[in-house]
Symmetry: C3
Subunit: 439 residues, 3 copies
């Protein structure tokens, strides 16, 4: 990406409305961990990026797991004694417990009740529930609708199928000059939920599109897979080569109004942790850095002891910590174009910081080189030193082969871009040479 | 201890009144660093635990020291000109400077005065003074009693003896499956002082009694010895085998109402430091962790550079930092059954945490293993994860052979017990195997 | 310095008036990076200390730089149309941009204006400006004087010369028992500025004079050289031997009323960093410790990656951060004898702490040795331990060959002197032996 100015990079950005449009297209689809919902979703993404789509048959052994049967659903409802649909999947796909087994039966409200899920604290919202690994069925509805149901018999129908088929995921790889990879991973299994995780998906798609047009040092890999089983399937199928992934992040809940939270890798001081922390700090916006814990999204799988990939997680709203999380209130009104674009830029800056995080050696390491005669220093001695010149002094002082530019930016307390620009000027001035050896 | 449930362990606890009863029996005895006071004390302890008692002859060279003569005392007093005892050892054994040489003389108050010790700031209390390593004699009394003494001649008598004899200490060893030892060390040289250190002694005795009934991985060693010279004697006599002591604590001042203070080992990050810190933090009670300093109790000797045993110190009231310290106000009214029992439990939890602090290897380290099909995970996907399941995820993630359970508990911010239980479930589920190699 | 008591050392101090007198002598001289101003300055210093003066010809290549031409100035002025000097170098040597090329011309105020420098925020002060590495000329004057100049023509004259000559610097070396060196470096290129840096120069000179009279373990090197090019020249000429410099500081702005600031070496945890921090903390006075940054004074050169000498910087007023900095207000009234003497003592304490920072081995490491029978411990047992005895316990505990006395003082939270005295007593008592092996 060295050949393109930073201004050009910003100009190449998508309109924020484009991000929203993609999300609007994807929102109505009823996704799950397998089935046509994911397939349809990836088909939409394929119109934006050159997506390679993989189908992995049910029954395939993947690490400690097995690819489950494919779930598809056509309709589902609860009818009252007058034959009216009092709960209707056609109105909102959250009404069905995701991955529900098919059923058709008539039963009393008392017998039905254990299969009905509500949120008493938010009586107008429909919860999102799943039952992937224990065969079950159920409906989700608002507390208010539940309370309106008179006792008596109800006809229930879930017109779904659980049959051998396949699990579907997609990926885009943008090869870079080095074999080292950056992995951006997003889960695509949630039905009509917006922030979680159509925002992550949309940001990843537009980033893949923008960065495809630039030179890169790092190979960038964008993965769109169902949560847990999708990441596990991908890891199983790429077990031999996965060590190339040197950095990465899961992206989730990036369109809401919460401040950013970056969740560290289990290692805690990986380059991606440093890059994310620096980018967030340089932004001047309030944010949180939290330690890794083995829950949340697919960073759990990537950071498992057998793999220990340095995958952090960037989010705004935190997993399980905002009321709209996993409810029908996580809808199009819950996210905004402005927050999406801010998130887009933040992800991009982190990726660019790692892409530009080279290590150099100062070629004039004895004392400070005379920048003035190289046109790199203002001539008239005074008191203050402009930022870029100060950045050059930092790069010169710490470029002893032991410090990469991210380290230098952190220590200097300067944005990565300033340090990167200073290094470029010093390379042009013949004072700096890249160190190819890896730590 | 793996075979017994935690509930059973609590049930095996002594009544708090039993702790107080033992202290009441020991309180009147006039102990010193040698002599019949210690011998009588150990005899009382022998009725609770299977104590091995050692006698080391005066004159024995122990490290840089020599076992001193044996001190015994029958009576001591100061009489006024009317022959009345104005200071009387029979009323309180603190009235004599401990280890005083015998004397019988008549002298003026002026000449006697340098041998009289009081606490002007606490005019009703008798101080505790000793003169072990310089031959001397003296009396301690309240400031009020001193001020009531008219000038004139007094008859003084200390009917003590300083003669070749022996130093006495006791120990109990409860062998464990591994050769590694945990040492609980208490000083038994103080006369009628209660918090310092009959509380430490009583807690140690009842713990030895309770833990004798359980399986243990660690060998537990309980030492009851006079301060400084006793610990030095024990170290000298066990010089070849003392390296087996991998953890330990001195116990002192554990019956008063102060919050707990744990004083670290000189190393500062030994397993016992981590265990004590975790247990105290998990308790939710206010407490202090302080750094090692080469003063206080016998942790000084154990942490000396030649030995560097990882011995911390647990206390409530801190050495020299509460007014009752080393005065007659450190009496039975200064301690309570409630605080004793809380201390007892805290010591036990620290010992149990170290006994259970194994290191495991996750046998399904690639991704998370599917806990659900092993009955270790609730089936219906939702937002929050119960503690024990979260603990299992932590144990799985960090069991890479590099982290023992204490490390995992610290990082997870969970009580040791929860992590220990999670590990037990995972071992049963075939997902975890103990790593026998030592760091 | 072991043979002399600390009291004697204080008695050997200069009167604070002596420091001021030297500064008063040096203040009027117009110094620059080369020329007679520096030569005259070093001649004055030679009357105090045995200074070796070096002349390095213009054109000599030194590291990445070249020794510049020699600058000398006889007179400079701006005359109005009535022939009156409205700016006069004879009144204040800051009136000329330092290192200005000669000029003699008549020009309008408009054409002259870009060559005139003022401080609009401090309308009565003259700024200090230089133009060393780009040939230029100019005048500095107060904003008030500038505003008083009517438009019209002015005659300007700078009667300076820029000709081949030499760069001058001086140094004093006080050999110590070990080859390790401590470097005190001060820049001597500033004209009539007082705090920056005649205070650093005067403190260095008197310290060289005082310490010459003592035994030393460290070799002490005092360098008086022009800023940047002087340090670079010295480094170039001593490239082979400069590795002997194990510690050092640049001294600057040490006479004003600001609290002390110590700026760390780039390494950040060098012995000099620890010593300075300990001395400042032990003083009880407010102070700041700041991290290294590659700007400020000649610590920039010493800490460059090719050399990485552990040179910190001690100052009161910080580079560029007080209004009087690099202005005519940095005059004799800006400094005080009291602050100079406090600075003198602080520098000396840091040097002495490093000179005395030996590593010892406890010769009785098993348990505590019995200090009492060696006369090193008070006999009557009580509650508190005097500082010096506590210091002995610290030295004994940590003298395992891994901790030097500075480490011990830091950990004990005690002044270096107390720990040093304790170590001396223990050496005398046969309990401690110096470890000669280096880390």
């Amino acid at each position: 990406m060295a050949d393109q100015s930073r201004a050009e990079k910003l100009a190449a950005e998508p309109e924020s409305s484009a991000l929203l449009e993609l999300i609007e297209k994807l929102y109505p689809i009823c996704r799950s961990i397998t089935g046509d919902g994911v397939r349809e979703t990836l088909r939409v993404l394929s119109s934006y990026i050159d997506l390679e789509i993989h189908e992995v048959p049910s029954g395939t052994e993947v690490l400690d797991w097995t690819v489950p049967r494919e779930w598809n659903i056509r309709d589902a409802w609860i009818k009252n004694q007058r034959g009216e649909r009092v709960v209707d999947f056609k109105k909102h796909n959250l009404h069905v417990v995701n991955y529900s087994a098919p059923i058709r039966a008539t039963m009393s409200l008392d017998r039905l009740r254990p299969h009905l899920h509500t949120l008493p604290d938010h009586p107008d919202w429909i919860p999102y529930r799943t039952s992937y690994y224990e065969e079950n069925w159920g409906f989700c509805l608002s507390q208010r609708d539940l309370e309106a149901l008179p006792s008596g018999d109800y006809e229930v129908c879930i017109d779904s199928s659980l049959e051998p088929g396949s699990l579907t995921y997609g990926e885009v790889v943008l090869p870079g000059a080095s074999g080292d990879e950056f992995l951006l991973s997003t889960h695509v299994c949630h039905p009509s939920l917006c922030d979680d995780n159509l925002t992550g998906v949309a940001i990843s798609v537009f980033l893949a599109r923008e960065l495809a047009r630039h030179e890169r040092r790092l190979t960038l890999r964008f993965l769109y897979a169902p949560g847990t089983i999708g990441a596990i399937t991908w890891l199983a199928r790429n077990r031999e080569t996965v060590g190339r992934v040197r950095h990465g992040m899961t992206l989730t809940c990036l369109g809401d109004r919460n401040q950013f939270t970056y969740k560290r890798t289990v290692r805690g001081d990986a380059d991606v942790d440093r890059a994310a922390e620096l980018v967030l700090r340089s932004s001047g916006r309030p944010h949180q850095i939290i330690e890794f814990f083995p829950y949340g999204y697919d960073e759990r799988q990537y950071n498992s002891p057998g793999f220990r990939l340095a995958i952090g997680s960037l989010m705004r709203g935190r997993h399980g910590q905002f009321p709209e999380y996993h409810t029908s209130a996580d809808n199009l009104g819950f996210i905004s174009a402005e927050h999406l674009l801010e998130s887009y830029r933040t992800v991009k800056e982190i990726v660019l910081a790692l892409d530009g995080n080279q290590t150099y050696e100062n070629l004039a390491p004895y004392g400070e080189p005379q920048l003035g005669r190289r046109g790199l220093y203002r001539a008239l001695g005074g008191t203050n030193v402009p930022n870029l010149q100060f950045a050059m002094l930092w790069v010169l002082n710490l470029s002893d082969g032991q410090h990469a530019l991210l380290d230098i930016a952190r220590r200097a307390g300067m944005p990565f871009d300033t340090i990167r620009t200073a290094a470029d000027l010093l390379v042009e001035g013949g004072l700096l040479e890249e160190v190819s050896a890896r730590e």
